[in-house]
């Protein structure tokens, strides 16, 4: 039913909006719009005093919808939904209109145009509010239990953080041992702590907590349900265990890039090895650095192998950890062994933050840095049983430099770990770089579009240990804040099917990526029906329906077409 008593608030945002948009003109232009009952301007709509005034307005005037014309919806939708709710109005009868980012700021060069645009945007907002429907979020009980998948250093950190906040944790690791990559490392940057010690310390913290149950040799084999209430089957050794959890924190980590056969001589020349192999060699050698029975005096490191690739390669990203890891290895070499020369063939060193100190140390040790670009990569050749590396060094005006090397270390980057089974079980979106994808790198960095499935650590993007820990704790805090209440509010902006218009052709079910469309009976016919627990409100099903039987709540034909008509004025 059309809303007839709409309150409209036009915000100055200090001067952010009103310096360019003539607020009085906007008010004048919209005051006679149908269904506008109350119209005000406000210096800061989001301020406490304005919010209180809105609550009072809604209550005294018995408004049935409100429009706030201010900043981007990304900022204050929860704020004004809260206002509506406190005033006893349905939060979905509030509409946000963006006259700042897409008004006053975008058109600060043209105040007249910015004002004209703001008028139409507000009118469109009023049209949308008029057709808005009260939507009710249903509440369901939620289990304050999290399955943390992967017990590398990230997963163990997530588990500990969750347990300390009172959440029960199942820590599920597919290998026999925990700790992931770090458990196999000796000295680490930037603290020189031992990797295996760090891993063992975390494990002992895990074991101290009664509300963490660790399963090794374990993998999820089945998942059903939605946030707050997932039922999973976990295969532990040869048994299958049913568990009930509220959410997942996926901490499944990375793999090291495996060079192609022949890439910088890899697989063809025995003295071409990867950085993880070299780290092991350093850890396992004492006094002298020996490889294949030969003393190593000159090490050539080739950077960015498998990272920062050109159009022919898949991995366009920088792996972040490897500049520092390679330099750290060279510093270790200098500490542990005498008379070894380190030659770093790099593409610009990326030792950000405190890691820069290691770069400085290595430079002071006399390490040599040569820089190349992708169109002229180092060449590795064999002459008379010796290995040579040749490069055009950018740092000396492109001069060609050739040097002998006893060992070539390929500084290999991180790649996503093969985990397609898990990705399809949990429906985790995968990004352009093939790592798991968050909703927004800055605004919602550990959540995925699947409610209740969070990601952290290196399954999401290359990270060092500190960054892995930080994102793991962020994921733990985020999901604990949701589950700790013991109940969940479901988002009500879902698809809805008008059964009398549906002729069951199945096209919507085919289009839905979340298995959210099921069959039901209506008037003795089979028709489509939305399974609300699965529907994500993407609307993919709506344009494919030949009879236009599907509307998305909040984006109905009446609302969108009302907006189009207003904007076209």
């Amino acid at each position: 039913m059309t809303k007839k008593k709409i309150g409209v608030y036009v915000c100055h945002c200090g001067g952010n909006i009103s310096d360019y948009v003539d607020i009085e003109k906007v008010k004048e232009a919209v005051k006679d719009e149908a269904n506008v009952y109350l119209l005000k301007n406000t210096l800061f709509a989001c301020s406490d005093s304005s919010q209180k005034e809105m609550v009072a307005d809604i209550q005294t005037n018995e408004l049935d919808a409100i429009v706030v014309a201010s900043c981007s919806p990304k900022l204050h939708v929860p704020t004004f939904r809260g206002v509506a709710q406190r005033a006893g109005m349905n939060p979905y009868n509030y509409v946000q209109v963006n006259i700042r980012e897409q008004g006053s700021w975008a058109h600060s060069d043209n105040p007249k145009g910015a004002t004209e645009k703001a008028i139409l945007l507000v009118k469109a907002g009023i049209a949308r509010a008029a057709e808005s429907e009260a939507l009710t979020s249903s509440k369901i009980p939620a289990a304050n239990v999290v399955a943390v998948i992967g017990a590398g250093v990230g997963g163990m950190r997530s588990a500990i953080a969750l347990a300390d906040m009172g959440t029960e944790v199942y820590l599920i690791e597919k290998e026999k041992n925990v700790g992931g990559h770090v458990a196999n490392f000796g000295s680490l940057f930037t603290t020189d702590k031992m990797g295996y010690e760090l891993s063992a310390n975390l494990l002992s913290e895990v074991k101290k907590r009664e509300n963490i149950k660790l399963f090794t040799n374990a993998e999820i084999v089945e998942k059903k349900g939605s946030i707050g209430n997932f039922d999973i089957q976990v295969k532990v050794d040869n048994d299958v265990l049913p568990l009930h959890v509220g959410a997942f924190v996926v901490n499944t980590g990375f793999d090291s890039y495996q060079p192609q056969q022949g890439e910088y001589g890899f697989g063809e020349q025995t003295n071409v090895i990867t950085l993880p192999e070299f780290k092991k060699l350093i850890d396992n050698s004492s006094e002298r650095l020996i490889f294949n029975g030969k003393a190593i005096k000159k090490v050539a490191y080739i950077y960015c192998v498998g990272s920062r690739q050109n159009d022919e390669g898949d991995n366009k990203y920088c792996s972040r950890y490897c500049c520092t890891a390679a330099i750290h290895a060279s510093v270790q070499v200098n500490k542990k062994f005498k008379d070894v020369t380190n030659l770093h063939f790099n593409r610009g060193i990326r030792t950000y933050g405190k890691q820069e100190l290691l770069y400085e140390e290595s430079s002071k040790n006399g390490d040599i840095y040569l820089q190349f670009s992708l169109d002229s990569i180092p060449e590795i050749t064999q002459k008379g049983g010796k290995t040579f590396v040749k490069v055009k060094d950018i740092l000396s005006a492109g001069k060609e430099v050739e040097t002998e090397a006893d060992l070539v270390v390929l500084v290999t980057g991180m790649v996503p770990r093969e985990n397609s089974k898990l990705a399809s079980q949990l429906k985790i979106p995968v990004g352009r770089d093939n790592f798991f994808n968050e909703i927004h790198m800055k605004l919602r960095p550990v959540e995925t579009v699947i409610d209740g499935v969070l990601i952290a650590g290196t399954c999401q993007s290359p990270k060092n240990i500190l960054e892995t820990m930080n994102s793991s704790m962020a994921a733990a805090a985020k999901i604990n804040s949701v589950l700790t209440k013991g109940e969940m509010t479901l988002d009500p902006t879902l698809a809805k099917i008008n059964p009398s218009q549906c002729t069951w052709c199945g096209k919507c079910a085919e289009a839905c990526p979340f298995d959210a469309i099921i069959q039901t009976e209506f008037d003795g016919r089979i028709v489509a029906k939305i399974n609300e627990a699965n529907c994500k409100g993407c609307g993919m099903c709506t344009p494919v329906c030949p009879t236009d039987a599907i509307d998305l709540a909040g984006f109905t034909n009446a609302q969108i077409e009302g907006m189009i008509d207003a904007l076209a004025e």
Partner: protein, 132 residues
């Protein structure tokens, strides 16, 4: 038509991905013509051809779909499904004597401030040429 005689463009942006790019353009004061108006939806593959046709009927000269492309958080099929919406609409447009070039689509991610402004100003220029 707007007061300055410029053509009007309706942009369909997506709440999580391409609308933030337009916000970012505003934040960076990257200007574009003010006769460009946005309606934001959850995913570009939910845009109904009838909405686009309604915009043309009511006087918009162009419609631009700022699609999610491969970044869509609802899954990889989004790009293909949005293209399908465009194909279907192009047919409806031809039937009404509209030029397919009046409907454009490009994948825009949340940090694409510069590219989205380029797309939109370029599209506006094309429409102005068409109009003259």
């Amino acid at each position: 038509m707007a007061s300055n005689g410029q053509p009007k463009i309706l942009v369909f942006s997506t709440e999580k991905i391409s609308d933030p790019a337009l916000d970012l353009a505003g934040l960076l004061k990257k200007h574009y013509p003010f006769t460009i108006y946005t309606i934001s939806v959850p995913c570009s593959s939910c845009i109904k051809p009838r909405w686009i046709m309604r915009a043309f009927d009511k006087g918009f000269s162009g419609v631009f779909i700022a699609a999610d492309g491969t970044d869509c958080s609802y899954g990889e099929s989004c790009g293909e499904k949005t293209s399908q919406v465009v194909t279907t609409t192009h047919q409806l447009m031809r039937d009404k004597g509209l030029k397919p070039s009046q409907l454009k689509m490009a994948a825009i991610c949340s940090v694409c401030a510069e590219p989205v402004v380029k797309h939109l100003t370029g599209f506006m220029k094309e429409l102005e040429k068409m109009q003259s």
